[in-house]
Subunit: 130 residues, 6 copies
């Protein structure tokens, strides 16, 4: 009666199999990470999430490294270990240096502190910001 375990790659069929192949090709990896193997229990969720992520994380007005750093910043704020580790890995693979990651963490630290100071003092929004 446990939570859904990751599906093995060799058990993948149909839509799931095609998406797994696209993930490996796009990411240049040989093994499907546990995240995608878990979502495969729900092929529509897998398809939706993969297509959305591919569309969102590609180069646009922001470069892929900046996008990965933003992703990690959110994941730290939400305390999601898997997400912090996998997207720090992705950020580095796409070119993020250790200095960039450390500076991102500095911003996350002070933003989390200041977000709460704003609540504590119940600061009203200045007109200029509206």
């Amino acid at each position: 009666m446990s939570i859904f375990k990751p599906i093995n790659e060799n058990q993948a069929k149909g839509k799931v199999k095609k998406i797994f192949e696209d993930i490996k090709r796009s990411r240049k990896i040989k093994k499907i990470p546990n995240f995608w193997r878990s979502l495969a229990h729900n092929p529509k969720l897998l398809e939706r999430t993969w297509n959305n992520l591919k569309q969102i994380m590609k180069k646009g007005a922001l470069d892929p490294v900046t996008k990965e750093l933003i992703y990690v910043a959110v994941s730290i704020t939400n305390s999601c270990e898997y997400c912090i580790r996998s997207h720090t890995f992705a950020a580095k693979k796409k070119g993020a240096t250790d200095e960039m990651i450390k500076e991102m963490i500095d911003v996350v630290g002070i933003a989390n502190q200041n977000n709460k100071l704003v609540e504590a003092y119940q600061v009203e929004v200045d007109k200029i910001y509206k």
Copy 2:
């Protein structure tokens, strides 16, 4: 018996007055925002927070626009309206375009979703990420 109200600039003395002047000079603004006027109830907190923020948000391995976008991403995740509005303002002032802001929001949206999918499926961290 209410929460601390923002302190008026013309009531500022000593350390608070000096920091207020530094804020106006560094930010090229004429009025001290409510956030700093609230923290002024606790001069050490004001000093600490201003000095840390100045040190953290300046250009380094990451440029100031990227840092502001990361700050906003955290503030959205924490639902802090003041912080979202004031740092979106700062990001734009430093050169962020509407397209950049929209793409940051896209990343925040999917990261928040995927953070929770990871929890829902209790996905274990792949060895390669450790």
Copy 3:
């Protein structure tokens, strides 16, 4: 100097013992889960929490399965592994199918995303909703 460890069932006395027996009888289980064994360090907390939970989770306008799914949805949003696992277990025991759990997760995913999009765009509440 560590955090309170779960209390053994055979060490339970008085009020704690009676509640442990009620838990086993009501839940049709033979071993007291760690959650209740931990709360037993504070018998009033144990009593309050068990009585409240029994009252809240029983059949009413909503059936017990729906209530368990809502409980799990909150626990995913709060990233509480123990709570996700124990109440997914309870949901299944009460009749939730895998399809029901997957659909609940889908809703949790998009709700978490949309909650943050609302913050990012600072969407004002439409009059019709007030």
Copy 4:
């Protein structure tokens, strides 16, 4: 230099216009809510979010009322006023009674409390739940 304001319906063109029409038809409403008018600044986000939401919230193993209640439970946990109000409205429109909503809130209350008690006592997951 403000946050993106909702786009007026009569300014909508192309993809946005088509989605706005689909929203009004599917929801049987005459005015587009502020949420969709805000996302319209980013037509791809609007399209993705609307299509995903339609797919997720429709009748499946869970009925639409249960799905709306789960959506509201997540939104309460995330403190998103817009989301709480708009999806409580949707839940009622689809048939949720006041009693159902009150019971959902009861579950959200105790789940949020117990989630934190689990953290406080650092309760380990029982083997039976794994």
Copy 5:
């Protein structure tokens, strides 16, 4: 079709009326705050919440001021304006000084920052703390 509005005191009957009277007597207030008037839609929730709160917030190993400060610290972390304002009010009424409140806020600020630095660096628990 709106969210439950606070119930007027003069509409209160039976159990709700009795609890309202107990609230006024215990708190030495003349008007029932909106929180209790809202919970009155669900008399069992009102009774449970009031009885639990009375039991928990009274003098014990911790004095009532310390308990109110802890309550506010949690409420700041959860960004609950009503809770921050009403329990800061209660803390002051019970004797908390402005200095005590400012120091509590300082702790909340740095705790929120350090909580996230721990996630960012994925710090493992030292053996001595277990």
Copy 6:
């Protein structure tokens, strides 16, 4: 390509070495905890965090035990295991009894529940609290 691992004490030089010595002296401990060894990857962050924490957590209008309990209350609310364990340890070392810790947890539990009930019923702030 992993996350930054804690730095060994004997590798510490310059500013980091001096801060490590100050930590050991002030805390009367012989080994630097993993938190500080991790922050040492960023000496300015280490210096800032240590100096701020020392300033904030010392005796003032609130005693050090109360401050540690507030720190733990925030950490429970944020689900940070490292922070819960290390600051419960610190609280006990400074004199917190088991009864004090249990009562703090009780407050954290009900505050987290009531924070969400306020959101669920969208309770408006009473005038008296403003």
